[in-house]
Subunit: 192 residues, 2 copies
Amino acid sequence: MTDRLEAQLAFLREADRLKSVLRASRLIDGSRHENSAEHSWHIMLYALVLEEHADPQVRIDRVIRMLLLHDIVEIDAGDAPIHGQVDHAAMAAKENAAAQRLFGLLPADQAAEFRSLWEEFEAAQTPDAVFAKAVDRFQPPVANLASGGGTWRDYAVTLEQMDARVGHPVGRGAPALWRWLRPRLERFFSAV
Amino acid sequence: MTDRLEAQLAFLREADRLKSVLRASRLIDGSRHENSAEHSWHIMLYALVLEEHADPQVRIDRVIRMLLLHDIVEIDAGDAPIHGQVDHAAMAAKENAAAQRLFGLLPADQAAEFRSLWEEFEAAQTPDAVFAKAVDRFQPPVANLASGGGTWRDYAVTLEQMDARVGHPVGRGAPALWRWLRPRLERFFSAV
């Protein structure tokens, strides 16, 4: 029992480092970059509040668990900004190694369970994962619209890129949210 | 539908400010103070990982929802450090007003649901709330032990105060975690 608890606590202490992984996006007030731990908290809140916009098959508590775990690999692999230049194959390899090491700190049964939830999220095929991905892609544009552009200005993003990078996953997992977002993006990008 | 979604998004944008509410505690690496949003993420992870140490009646997904919402009132009311001097009646009044304003941004049905979960957490009477409180009080000492004292040094905390402020809620909601923690606290406090 003590060994098991020690393994759990080793994982939980290591998880503290997600608070130091910085994302490209900033807080709405512009004061600083957002970190991946507080981002994870925020999109879990998005999932809970916006549940009614998900497919009826979606089990929101599983989505929340997925989002709780989804960025932990970034402790080793770092954050890959959606609008940055990323070598996707190299990133996937780094994230797999990170999942191995980080979830591997846990007792074997929990390591397998968490890893499987994380892989389900990454694969984005089940209704729960599709909604989780939609929420993860929906929060940054809401923040950017509220703060006058945010990362879109940093990365010189175009509306066409938004349609591909945000429209596809959000439209697939939460069509009502994309219907809300699309005309606002169009207005923003036609003005810049 | 659009009015409803606008209300949900107003709440979610306002929630961004929880990332700027600083707690007394620091990250384990000592680099900076922790904020209440990333703290909320971390204790949700604690709850998920440590579920087996809860009473069998506890429904962990409800606990996770409670922890997701539990600090949102701090956007208006600020954080009350467990080892600081706090006027508890004044704080409760501020938090009630904060709950009214912040959850009140949501559609009425969600405002009522979230407020009720938050009140259940605060009252700490149901098995779910008792475990949620235990987890909320267990994470800071784990971090302090890992970082050589942290807030205990800042506030000149004694073992007797730890027994009252941490031992009571953790021992009640997760006795196995208190059995792990107590001898480590004793060792730490006998050495300072």
